[in-house]
């Protein structure tokens, strides 16, 4: 049985949080955290409401060796801003031809970070006037849906937003994601991504924390939009 639909979900979140879930039971739960979105969302709810924050008074300064070892073992020097770039181009140029030469080499050696190909906007979701407009863009590999809200839209602690796909051919809405806010990257399963076609619709409903308990929208739909591309 999947943990996300188990009646023991809350008990497991609680015991995981407190630490009494140990050994293989903890590893099973951690696997579910990665694979079952509702488990992660429910744990996030527990963390927000049921876990106290530690007081700064318990802090202990670690010895400098811990950081030195981490830095060496993780090879962090590869990910540092080169000195010349930190100084700024003008100062590097002002430092003379030699510095300019070195900067040239540095640029040559440090290959630019490949940029992600742009996602294509496929739908604009709109609702009542007081709700921000949300754009939905699909990555070129059709694996990721990027939602962007014109203003931040955050769910209250007892609510989640759920993103639905209403197929062009009709039929029940398919749940794509349970969200805490509407600026989000949503991984899309292949079965769903082939249905993201013109004529289908995207809609967002308000659901209890963790998403619709029934698998179909239960709360008000706050915005919707037609897929156009």
């Amino acid at each position: 049985m999947r943990i996300e639909s188990s009646p023991a979900l809350d008990a497991l979140c609680g015991e995981y949080l407190i630490g009494t879930l140990q050994g293989s039971a903890r590893r099973r739960f951690e696997r579910a955290l990665r694979e079952e979105p509702r488990v992660a969302l429910r744990l996030e709810h527990w963390r927000t409401t049921m876990a106290p924050r530690y007081s700064p008074a318990i802090a202990v300064q670690p010895s400098p060796q811990v950081w030195k070892r981490l830095q060496a073992e993780l090879g962090l020097s590869r990910y540092r801003t080169p000195l010349l770039r930190r100084l700024g181009l003008w100062r590097a140029l002002a430092a003379g031809a030699m510095a300019a030469l070195v900067a040239g080499i540095a640029v040559e050696v440090l290959k630019p970070v490949p940029t992600e190909p742009a996602a294509v906007t496929i739908a604009q979701l709109e609702g009542q006037a007081d709700v921000a407009r949300v754009t939905a863009a699909l990555s070129p590999d059709r694996n990721t849906l990027q939602l962007h809200a014109a203003r931040p839209v955050l769910a209250g602690p007892a609510q989640s937003y759920e993103l639905w796909l209403i197929p062009a051919e009709g039929g029940a809405p398919l749940s794509l994601a349970v969200l805490g806010n509407l600026d989000a990257r949503v991984p899309v399963a292949p079965a769903h991504s082939k249905r993201l076609v013109p004529g289908a619709k995207l809609a967002i409903s308000v659901e209890p924390a963790g998403g619709s308990p029934t698998g179909a929208p239960t709360g008000p739909v706050i915005m919707a939009g037609q897929i156009e591309i």
């Binding site: 015991e15 949080l17 009494t20 409401t49 876990a51 924050r53 318990i58 202990v60 811990v66 981490l70």
Partner: protein, 199 residues
């Protein structure tokens, strides 16, 4: 107090794995390592073992930063969980007779430690919802039965298993499991009733 929004930005920056990721990770370490070492030390007891745990946990945080969920709103709690879980595993492999050796260092006043260990005043970045939730949690904890509260606080701060807890409290395993389970359940229903989502 650690600012969750700032910690989240640093984690995402470290996870980007580009120029500047190392600086972000170093800043993250400087800000969080002292608190996390305190957390680890409460679980493993010895300072040098706790530093081992801190090292392993930060190596894990660097790896996991790449897949850190930008939607997660509790990055500090996420790091605390990594540290505590690592500490629990390290302790299990280090010391077979740990219950006896840790007995003396365990908290003898779990009720008082609620206010020593935890921060109940709201942080700078906290919104109204979170602020109210903290108040409800403190209040609901004080409404638990004393034995349940004691079991929860001891288990949480020292990362004790049910078995460790039973040995420490000198009660049967089943009794201790019930305290933990009932305590968590009462806490959840009390907090959710306040939130207006009780069932």
């Amino acid at each position: 107090m650690l600012d969750d929004q700032q910690i989240k930005r640093l984690l995402l920056r470290a996870g980007a794995r580009d120029e500047g990721s190392a600086e972000a990770f170093e800043r993250l370490y400087r800000l969080c390592a002292p608190l996390l070492l305190g957390v680890a030390q409460r679980v493993v007891g010895r300072r040098e073992v706790a530093e081992e745990v801190l090292h392993d946990a930060f190596a894990g945080i660097w790896r996991k930063a790449e897949s850190f969920d930008p939607l997660a709103n509790q990055p500090v709690a996420w790091m605390v969980a990594i540290v505590r879980n690592r500490a629990i595993d390290v302790r299990a492999s280090h010391d077979v007779s740990r219950v006896d050796s840790y007995h003396d260092t365990l908290d003898s006043d779990p009720d008082g430690s609620l206010d020593r260990l935890f921060e109940w005043s709201p942080g700078p970045d906290e919104n109204e919802d979170r602020r109210r939730a903290v108040g409800w949690l403190r209040d609901c904890l004080s409404k638990l039965q004393a034995v349940e509260r004691q079991a929860l606080v001891l288990a949480y701060q020292h990362g004790l298993s049910h078995g460790d807890l039973a040995a420490h409290l000198q009660k049967p395993l089943g009794t201790v499991k019930t305290w933990v389970r009932r305590g968590m359940e009462s806490l959840r229903s009390c907090v959710e009733t306040r939130m207006g989502t009780g069932r």
